[in-house]
């Protein structure tokens, strides 16, 4: 009987260890191919080069255009998602009554659950033509349209995480502020939000990480022209869209072009993993403050 219990516990433990295996697997796969890549392309060229043309006759492997594309689209998305998400969270946490909350929450959940291809369709075939009617200089593929749509997609994430953080602020703090005659807005913005600061920052960082890692919206609507630019009206290519582009093609295994997707993937992984770690650390610290 005891033997069986022992075996069961070890079996369960093995399953739990699998998650470590996943992380190790990711790191291994990315590292092996990236190392091969870096044997043929100097790392300085990769990280600081400004032209990305790996499939041309004279290939260039400067990743900055892809990074710029990612940053541009993500920045636009954050301009939408962060302020709107925070406002939404403040309203839901401090103002809204139960009825409104019950009506709004499902809407936000659905927005968060829509598959990203659907958002990509929406960005390319609805939002872009709409924006072009207003600003005719907008190209068919651009950074603005997917950026806006991505912002809408990430808004619920910012809203719900920030709301959780604000809900963690003890009621006593609010009551102290009201007792001094402050309005709800003053209490929310000057007492609750600052008190929930690290929790909210953790939410923001997670949102950025999500935007950077998003693939399909940009693959459909942003274009496939790597360009080092800050102009939201022209086609760009993000790191994620590049990986999709190559995967759709017929690149054979073992070639330099094949390895580029792992090198780009490695960069993407380091960036998002770093952001996620910071976000987790901030959330832990916040929990300690108010636990």
């Amino acid at each position: 009987m005891k033997r069986v219990e022992f075996l069961i516990e070890w079996g369960l433990f093995g399953c739990a260890l699998l998650s470590i295996g996943t992380t190790i697997g990711i790191i291994l796969v990315l590292t092996i191919e990236t190392v091969s890549f870096l044997r043929q392309v100097p790392i300085a060229d990769f990280l600081f080069g400004t032209e990305w043309t790996p499939l041309f006759a004279t290939p260039r492997f400067g990743v900055l255009p892809l990074v710029a594309g990612t940053m541009l689209v993500s920045a636009i998305a954050m301009l939408v998602a962060l302020p709107m998400g925070l406002l939404s969270a403040v309203y839901l946490s401090e103002y809204a009554d139960e009825r409104l909350r019950r009506a709004v929450k499902p809407v936000l959940e659905i927005l968060a659950g829509v598959p990203t291809v659907v958002y990509g369709y929406f960005a390319l075939l609805f939002v872009t033509p709409l924006l072009q009617a207003v600003a005719p200089t907008l190209a068919g593929f651009n950074a603005l349209s997917p950026g806006l749509v991505m912002g809408i997609m990430i808004l619920p994430l910012v809203s719900s995480l920030s709301e959780d953080a604000m809900r963690g602020v003890p009621r006593g703090l609010r009551e102290g502020s009201y007792a001094l005659g402050a309005t709800k807005m003053q209490t929310s913005l000057r007492v609750v939000v600052p008190a929930a600061f690290s929790g909210i920052t953790a939410a923001f960082i997670l949102a950025v990480s999500r935007a950077i890692g998003e693939t399909m919206i940009v693959a459909i609507a942003a274009g496939q022209q790597p360009r080092l630019t800050a102009d939201p009206r022209v086609p760009v290519e993000t790191m994620t869209a590049y990986i999709v582009q190559v995967s759709l093609g017929d690149t054979p295994q073992g070639t330099l072009e094949y390895r580029t997707i792992f090198a780009v993937g490695m960069l993407l992984f380091i960036g998002t993993f770093g952001l996620n770690l910071v976000s987790t650390w901030l959330r832990e610290r916040y929990r300690e403050e108010y636990a």
């Binding site: 069986v4 219990e5 069961i8 516990e9 079996g11 369960l12 433990f13 399953c15 739990a16 699998l18 998650s19 470590i20 996943t22 992380t23 990711i26 796969v29 092996i32 191919e33 709107m84 939404s88 403040v90 309203y91 103002y95 709004v104 809407v107 936000l108 927005l111 829509v114 598959p115 990203t116 291809v117 659907v118 369709y121 929406f122 390319l124 075939l125 609805f126 809408i152 808004l155 309005t183 709800k184 807005m185 003053q186 999500r210 890692g213 693939t215 399909m216 693959a219 990986i243 999709v244 995967s247 759709l248 997707i261 993937g265 993407l268 992984f269 998002t272 993993f273 996620n276 987790t280």
Partner: protein, 289 residues
């Protein structure tokens, strides 16, 4: 007692303006969703038909169908479930019931939290390097399902843990006091009570998996395929990839087809959710009194 507080009028106005701004934000979110739904439905309703669902893809928009992608999606999700559920539930049981606060358990927890936020395309690269190449599964349903299983594993583990945590301590104590072992307590008492919660988490995970495009493209799910998959080793495609393929075509006729595909995807998502909710309610009535 009518001495007005300084600036009270201004402060009240600012408060009202703030309230209005916040409501505007919520309205924008609602409008965005509404516009999205309207756009898709109006574009795609025309393309929906029985032949659309049962035909295969074609170079001509008027003959394009979705059967191969639909069966591919269903097949992949089934295999993903078989792979992810036992491992995920087992891992969650370990962490929640056995692990405690040991260092190893904390490292695993931290790792899972981080994995949950890794971009899905990275999982695709992992699947490509590990399943497709190293383990030689090729661009098969099995490789795709294994990749998706790793992707949804953190979600399954996290939500199963919450379900286990929600089981009252008194239930475990009552069982231990009768001389039951840890595993007997978990298997006979804790798991049955936690099952509805576990199922809910599963719905969440699989709903996400069914909409996933990037990792499957990366492992090589093809975008033009003319047959339904017949085994776990066959090449395949899934609904979101087929939609992506149609959206990417310049011909205007394919827009409607893509929208139709989206409607089918959404229908599949909704019916999955409904089936799982029904399953959960049924278990709740029968098993947990």
């Amino acid at each position: 007692m009518s001495a007005a507080l300084p600036g009270i009028v201004w402060r009240r106005r600012a408060d009202a303006a703030f309230r209005a701004l916040a409501l505007l934000v919520l309205f924008v979110a609602l409008a965005a969703l509404g516009t999205l739904i309207w756009d898709i439905v109006s574009d795609g309703a025309g393309a929906l038909s029985w032949s659309f669902i049962t035909s295969f893809s074609s170079r001509r928009a008027s003959q394009a169908g979705i059967w191969h992608a639909l069966t591919g999606s269903v097949f992949v999700i089934l295999v993903t479930t078989v792979l992810a559920v036992p491992v995920g539930v087992a891992a969650a049981i370990y962490l929640e019931e056995y692990g405690g606060r040991s260092l190893v358990a904390r490292i695993i927890e931290l790792n899972i939290t981080n994995l949950a936020a890794v971009p899905s395309i990275i999982y695709g690269l992992l699947g490509l390097g590990l399943f497709v190449r190293m383990m030689g599964m090729g661009r098969s349903i099995l490789a795709g399902a294994a990749t998706l299983a790793l992707l949804v594993l953190p979600v399954v583990i996290l939500s199963t843990r919450e379900a286990l945590r929600a089981v009252p301590k008194s239930l475990r104590e009552g069982s231990y006091a009768l001389g039951a072992s840890k595993w007997q307590t978990i298997w006979h008492q804790v798991l049955p009570v936690a099952t509805p919660g576990i199922l809910t988490g599963l719905i969440l995970a699989l709903s996400r998996a069914i909409g996933e495009t990037a990792p499957l493209i990366t492992i090589g799910a093809v975008t033009f395929i003319t047959f339904a998959p017949d085994s776990i080793w066959s090449p395949f495609t899934v609904l979101p990839i087929q939609i992506f393929n149609w959206v990417s075509r310049p011909q205007v006729e394919f827009q409607a087809v893509a929208a139709g595909g989206i409607l089918v995807l959404v229908a599949l998502l909704l019916s999955m959710n409904a089936a799982a909710i029904w399953l959960r309610d049924r278990h709740q009535k029968r098993g947990t009194w």
